[in-house]
């Protein structure tokens, strides 16, 4: 789960990272009031979870409260990569003498939390990785010891942190690490970390992404979820315990198992169609979850056919078939449905499905072809 900049900063501030927090605003008037409280020049920043907001015009300087109001007016409602800006952050402007990149990632390859640091701050680290990989320090931390002082020193020397700011840098580094670990993050970055003209070290922008698996033990962080930026269908799916991602195609997919769900999408594409979604209904394929899945799929008006692919395994295929038929009978919209069930009693499943006017298929390739055909 991605957190908005202002939420990320909240967490970092709680762990002692020095920054200029600012205030959020959802109207130009609020932005003006915030700028008045802050005093002096401010930056008005679109709070969106997609990258490239700066280039899209979502970050503007404002010298006065009136200007802040005007800039907030420009930015609020703006569309950035498909997201409508609903909130801006109004934060004190800083005079920047030097910019750094400082991040922590969950490093799958190293099986460690890895520090990534670069003296080329303010640009995306992927960019620096391409243009100047030597400017990047990657430092995997010991998985049981965590961040040590010598590592903090090494990062500071690598970045060329001025001697009088080394102690502050250690505070930033410790705070970033604590924020990462205590939030169960898989990414926490400060970009840029700046030295200001008056010699302060400040986190000017921040981004934290959380490990979804750990959210159950962080209800406070779960509460920071920004529902405005999520597809309503994805919100509904999450509430129903279904793993669902909306896509742009016309063939709805309902599958048990994530790998098989992706494969089903791939085969739809291979058969000349476009999947409308990723959907993993999880183990057991229980009737209520099947019903919820159908509703979520059919809420997408683009969906012209549904492909159901259940590898029952130990679950009985005839029970799954009954569940599908039952769930379908309650739907508000009818589209052609291709159903493939494999596993124990899958032969018994076929007549049940056929009686309910569902298209059946033996192989997955066949099911995909029939679904594409049905959607035409």
């Amino acid at each position: 789960m991605k957190l908005q900049e202002y939420r990320s900063k909240e967490i970092l501030a709680r762990h002692g990272v020095p920054l200029l927090a600012g205030e959020t605003a959802t109207t130009p008037a609020e932005a003006r009031a915030a700028a008045e409280r802050i005093g002096g020049a401010v930056v008005v920043k679109a709070q969106v979870l997609v990258g490239g907001r700066g280039k899209a015009g979502g970050v503007k300087l404002a010298a006065t409260p009136a200007e802040a109001e005007a800039r907030a007016g420009d930015i609020l409602g703006m569309d950035i990569k498909g997201i409508t800006v609903q909130t801006v952050l109004v934060a004190p402007a800083a005079d920047i003498a030097k910019e750094f990149y400082l991040g922590l990632i969950l490093d799958r390859a190293a099986r460690a939390i890895t520090v990534i640091a670069s003296a080329e701050g303010g640009v995306e680290i992927e960019e620096t990785a391409k243009t100047n990989p030597g400017a990047i320090l990657r430092l995997p931390l010991h998985p049981l010891l965590g961040l040590q002082e010598f590592e903090t020193r090494r990062i500071g020397f690598f970045l060329g942190i001025p001697a009088d700011l080394r102690r502050d840098f250690a505070t930033v580094m410790r705070g970033l690490y604590a924020a990462f670990v205590e939030s169960d993050a898989d990414l926490a970055e400060i970009n840029p970390l700046v030295v200001t003209d008056d010699g302060r070290l400040l986190a000017l922008d921040a981004k934290i992404t959380l490990d979804d698996s750990a959210l159950p033990r962080h209800p406070d962080l779960e509460a920071m979820r920004d529902l405005n930026e999520e597809e309503p269908s994805e919100i509904a799916a999450r509430e129903a315990g279904i793993s669902f991602i909306k896509l742009d195609g016309s063939i709805g997919c309902m599958v048990n198992g994530a790998g098989l769900a992706m494969t089903t999408m791939d085969l739809v594409k291979l058969a000349g169609g476009e999947p409308a979604n990723f959907l993993d209904i999880g183990g057991g394929a229980k009737a209520d979850r099947v019903a919820a899945a159908f509703r979520i799929i059919l809420d997408d008006p683009n969906v012209k056919a549904i492909l159901v692919n259940i590898f029952g395994g130990i679950t009985r295929g005839d029970e799954v078939a009954h569940g599908i038929v039952e769930a379908r009978s309650q739907l508000h919209r009818e589209v052609p449905m291709v159903v493939r069930i494999v596993g124990t009693n899958s032969d018994e499943a076929k007549p049940i499905l056929a009686r309910a006017n569902l298209i059946t298929a033996d192989s997955l390739d066949d099911a995909a072809a029939k679904a594409v055909e049905a959607a035409r």
Binding site: D211, S213, I245, A261, T344
Partner: protein, 293 residues
């Protein structure tokens, strides 16, 4: 032969009295797996599965009393890290964790400790493994398998069954089928399993089922080019997956920077001389073409 588990495996089930644990333990027993003990704290002294399996309070007790040499974990995600550490501390050499949703920072610690202890961990978030006709550990349906010359390794559950079913239907049996799990940090990697298959004389060919996210398939491809001379076939799921989204499995995510795509993995495998199927159903044909079966 088979890898990791066989007819001599003395299996312990952690969480044997839970709903999932009990259901799948029954299926494992039915398959013929030698379940020697169960562990549920507070139920020590009782039995599970109609008196067939003694239950202990701790893994240390279970190992001490029964000589269990493998443990299958069915406890909820919040308790799974502790369960893995418990099994490893009791010197169980093989731990298979089925549980999905283990926080990844917990797994970092667990992975490190188990590796240092010399414990092999399979999973978490995996279907387990089946050495056909000898032992089934986990949640795979047993009846899709047929004994034969092919070793299979996969990050998925049902997708694995799909491929196994296709192979069995085509008359291509398996030695061992291993599901390594769909999480970002898993105990046993593709390379670990490929190396074991490579060393197993009965395994004549290898099937590898990958998916988007991470770079383990790419590393495995390099390993195969270097070490493996047995015929191979592969499949990679997720060619249509959008970047930056977690596709069900915690580990199945193409990074915003563009790493971990299906294409990257397919090219790496093909560069290593491994044929990559467009559909799971093509795998038997690829194996036949390579002279297997």
């Amino acid at each position: 032969m088979s890898i990791f588990v066989n007819a001599d495996t003395r299996l312990l089930v952690q969480g044997i009295t839970g709903r999932e644990g009990e259901f799948h333990s029954a299926a494992m027993l039915e398959y013929g797996t030698n379940i020697v003990a169960g562990v549920t704290p507070g139920k020590g002294g009782q039995t599970a599965l109609d008196g067939r399996v003694p239950v202990y309070d701790t893994v240390a007790d279970a190992v001490g009393q029964t000589g269990a040499n493998a443990s299958c974990i069915f406890v909820p995600a919040a308790f799974a890290p502790d369960a893995m550490l418990e099994a490893s501390a009791a010197r169980v050499p093989l731990v298979i964790c089925i549980t999905e949703g283990v926080p990844v920072l917990d797994m970092l610690r667990v992975h490190h400790v188990l590796k240092a202890n010399g414990t092999r961990l399979i999973g978490p978030n995996c279907p387990g493994l089946t050495s056909v006709g000898e032992a089934k550990v986990g949640i795979s349906p047993g009846d899709i398998h047929r004994r034969g010359p092919v070793g299979l390794v996969s990050r998925s559950g049902t997708l694995t069954y799909e491929v196994v079913q296709a192979m069995t239907d085509a008359g291509l049996g398996q030695t061992t089928c291993v599901g390594i799990g769909g999480d970002p940090i898993v105990g046993t990697s593709f390379i670990d399993v490929l190396a074991a298959f490579n060393a197993d004389p009965e395994t004549e060919a290898i099937v590898m089922i990958g998916e988007i996210g991470g770079e383990e398939e790419e590393k495995a491809a390099a390993f195969c080019a270097r070490e493996v001379r047995k015929p191979m076939a592969a499949f990679i799921a997720g060619r249509t997956a959008p970047p930056g989204r977690r596709m069900g499995h915690a580990g199945a995510i193409i990074s915003s920077g563009g790493g971990g795509t299906a294409e990257s993995k397919r090219s790496a495998l093909e560069a290593a001389g491994i044929h990559v199927a467009d559909s799971p159903s093509h795998i038997p044909r690829l194996l036949h073409d390579a002279g297997v079966g």
